[in-house]
């Protein structure tokens, strides 16, 4: 009901800025501080469908859309079973949402999306984006993304997120109207330039190095696992040849025939079993891929802080040099070697009226500069504090998730072994009957 009320309000009010606070979070009194969206709303990405249509440049294309379903939690808690509200979203719309969140919350480790293109593919697995298995895994990844964002203490309050989940048409336009794209572009430009920070934030630098390590370790692991999967597939499939040969051989034998024939069937079953085994292992790979992408997100947060720090240092430097200029002008003493000093010596100093005008301008600039430095210092400190808080939260989540992933992997291996024991015990029984 709460979600529906919010929807009604947004429909009747003309000016949606009523609902939005300056940082993009919902101001609705119904949303209590610290509670997150997921507690109030059940979210799922239920289905995927193929669509055909003309794209922005009028070319026919086929793409996949995903059904995002939401249901109010309190209705469920009360025992009602309301039908879900739903809308269709493309992968590119998820990307847009994520990019918006990254720009709007530069100090938050924004959860990653499932991979755009299939990577770390072992040879039988399809790298085709339209392949049903890929689409299914992507559906799960997209749902995971939404659940993570909707349960994040900061991100879950975002207005654009709420509209993403509830407003099918016009959502994209709304996002573009926030003007986040311009901010994103300028940030990107600034970040791609190389700059050196004089006094880097020690913990954040360590975290950046950690995220680099995490990226390289997970990708090495994924690459090695892919090759192992390829080899395992070959081992199982080649046993299918036993099935064929035993069957042919059994035809020429009398006493041995039955035993050989049934052993052959078990060999065929063994060869076939590897497909399910490796499909299950893909989920493990997906969990690792998520943290591979998370590593990038962490790195981005650290880099953005570096940029803030750099801009602060630039502003401080600028302020210092302006103060120096003021001193020189006021006292006439030129401390450091400068062109002004030289020209003064050579051509004489300028007239007092000009000097005073310059001094006044300088004072204004210095006052501005001091404001800027104060703002940037506060911004930088706030950024660092919030970033560190989210990184701590991220670390806990990572440890918990990856521990679970590793345990699940071990259980998968045990299950694979159980199947192997079954098949070979059966085969042994058949051989005994030979």
């Amino acid at each position: 009901r709460m979600a529906e009320d919010v929807k009604e309000e947004s429909v009747t009010s003309n000016d949606e800025s009523d609902l939005a606070a300056s940082d993009g979070s919902l101001n609705n009194t119904m949303l209590t501080e610290g509670s997150c969206l997921l507690r109030r709303m059940e979210i799922s990405v239920a289905e995927a469908e193929k669509r055909s249509g003309k794209n922005a440049v009028s070319i026919q294309e086929t793409y996949t859309v995903y059904l995002v379903e939401t249901r109010p939690m309190d209705a469920i808690a009360e025992g009602h079973n309301p039908p879900p509200d739903s809308l269709w979203r493309r992968y590119s719309e998820f990307e847009l949402l994520r990019n918006y969140l990254i720009v709007t919350y530069p100090y938050i480790v924004v959860p990653p999306l499932p991979e755009k293109r299939a990577e770390f593919v072992w040879h039988k697995l399809s790298a085709d984006n339209m392949d049903p298995d890929f689409v299914e895994r992507r559906r799960i990844g997209l749902e995971n993304f939404l659940l993570r964002v909707a349960s994040h203490p900061v991100l879950s309050n975002n207005e654009m997120l709420y509209h993403f989940l509830t407003k099918e048409h016009g959502w994209k336009e709304m996002v573009y109207e926030t003007g986040f794209q311009a901010k994103a572009d300028s940030r990107l430009r600034a970040l791609s330039a190389t700059f050196r920070v004089r006094s880097p934030h020690k913990r954040l630098v360590e975290m950046k190095h950690y995220s680099d390590g995490l990226q390289s370790h997970t990708s090495q692991l994924l690459r090695a696992r892919t090759r192992v999967a390829d080899r395992l597939y070959a081992v199982y499939k080649v046993h299918g040849n036993y099935g064929r040969v035993f069957s042919e051989w059994s035809a020429i034998e009398k006493e041995m025939g039955d035993g050989l024939q049934s052993a052959g069937h078990h060999m065929d079953a063994y060869a076939a079993s590897v497909d399910d085994i490796l499909e299950e292992e893909e989920h493990y790979a997906d969990q690792l891929k998520e943290y591979l992408s998370y590593a990038e997100a962490v790195r981005a947060v650290c880099r953005k802080h570096e940029l803030s720090q750099f801009e602060l240092e630039m502003a401080s430097q600028d302020l210092i040099s302006k103060k120096q200029q003021r001193e020189e002008l006021a006292t006439g003493i030129v401390r450091t070697f400068s062109l002004k000093g030289m020209t003064n010596k050579l051509f004489g100093q300028e007239a007092p009226e000009q000097r005073d005008a310059k001094l006044n301008l300088l004072e204004e600039l210095i006052a501005e500069g001091e404001e800027t430095v104060k703002e940037k210092t506060a911004e930088c400190d706030e950024h660092a504090e919030k970033a560190w808080a989210d990184i701590v939260r991220f670390k806990d989540q990572k440890d918990k998730d990856l521990q679970e992933a590793l345990i699940n992997y071990a259980l998968m291996q045990i299950s694979m072994c159980k199947k192997g024991i079954q098949v070979w015990s059966n085969a042994k029984e058949c051989f005994l009957k030979m």
Partner: protein
């Protein structure tokens, strides 16, 4: 036959130790100890003597003189050991054979210090040549009428040969794939350990999984070894057996062809050597009976050998999966579960630990 000695680069001498344990169906041997040294060529000599004297008996094959490098792992130690085992089986089969074990040549082989003087007493090179020529001539001629049972046998032998080659090929392919899998596992395990170095809480479970992968790779190595030591040699011997059988069938056919040739000559009165024809007729009878008797013997031991090799392989595979399964539920992973959550721990306990009594 217990061991071997290396004497120079090319010659390997096989030391045959015999003591009272070895029994034969003939009581010609006295139960004293003999130790003789034999070269591979001596085994070849024995085999050809036996084939000559008992043309339609099925003699267990000798290991090949030369083996393709690609089939043999490490040429020296393993190859010699494999060959020794095969030679051992060759001798044992003769010992167990009711007729072959009584062979004079066999006794000589086992007891005489020096084999060289006996080797010279065999039929000369020229007589062997003429026998081969006669055989070729007869095969060109073709047989008048082949008994149904031998036609069936021939067809079986041809099929059996094909199947043995196929099973042998598949088995080698499986070993190759196992080996490549093992090699990749050896690269995969370390990635867990490398990652663990930069983690705190995650270090233990990462190292846990890493050591499981290492263990898995070791077990795969053992699996490969078992296949190479048990199934491969057995299959190989039966591939060679198939060739032996083909040779036996050919020799039987030749004996019959020879008789038919002489019989025809008699009928067309180009010769009057009736006695020779009768001898040849007897020879055919003997050869056929010998083959019949040995055929069922061979079928029984073939079945036993292959059955045993396949059972052993299946059992080893079960053992492999049991060991790997046990590896993946070590107490450290369970302890990690307890840290994470009680529900996860109890689920893990029920699903993984209990069934394996970890």
């Amino acid at each position: 036959m217990n061991n071997y000695q290396q004497n120079g680069d090319d010659f390997f001498l096989y030391v045959l130790n015999q003591n009272e344990h070895i029994k034969t169906t003939c009581s010609e041997f006295d139960s004293s100890e003999y130790e003789v040294r034999r070269r591979y060529q001596d085994f070849l000599w024995l085999k050809s003597r036996l084939e000559e004297n008992y043309p339609t008996l099925i003699i267990h094959p000798l290991p090949e003189k030369f083996v393709m490098k690609s089939m043999v792992e490490r040429f020296n130690d393993d190859f010699i050991e494999t060959r020794r085992k095969a030679l051992h089986r060759f001798l044992n089969r003769i010992t167990e054979h009711p007729i072959l074990s009584c062979s004079h040549h066999f006794k000589v082989f086992l007891t005489e210090e020096e084999l060289a003087p006996h080797r010279k007493l065999g039929p000369g090179f020229l007589s062997r040549m003429s026998e081969t020529m006669r055989a070729m001539a007869n095969s060109v001629r073709g047989l008048r009428s082949k008994l149904e049972e031998f036609a069936v046998m021939q067809a079986y032998v041809d099929d059996f040969s094909n199947k043995m080659c196929s099973v042998d090929k598949v088995t080698h392919r499986i070993i190759k794939e196992h080996r490549e899998y093992m090699d990749e596992l050896k690269q995969y395990g370390p990635t867990y350990f490398q990652w663990a170095e930069s983690e705190e809480l995650l270090a233990e479970p990462l190292k846990g999984v890493g050591s499981c992968v290492e263990r898995c790779s070791k077990e795969t190595e053992e699996q490969i070894q078992h296949l190479s030591e048990v199934l491969v040699p057995t299959l190989h011997e039966y591939v060679l057996c198939a060739d032996t059988l083909k040779a036996v069938m050919r020799r039987r056919d030749n004996i019959q062809a020879e008789f038919e040739a002489k019989n025809e000559a008699l009928a067309s009165r180009t010769t009057d050597k009736e006695m020779e024809v009768d001898d040849l007729a007897d020879r055919v009878e003997q050869a056929n009976n010998a083959l019949r008797g040995d055929w069922s013997r061979w079928r029984t031991s073939m079945r036993a050998d292959l059955k045993s090799a396949f059972i052993s392989t299946a059992a080893k595979n079960v053992d492999y999966y049991e060991k790997v399964s046990l590896t993946y539920c070590p107490s450290s992973l369970y302890a990690v579960c307890l840290q994470t959550s009680r529900t996860l721990a109890s689920w893990f306990f029920r699903a993984a630990v209990l069934p394996h009594r970890c």
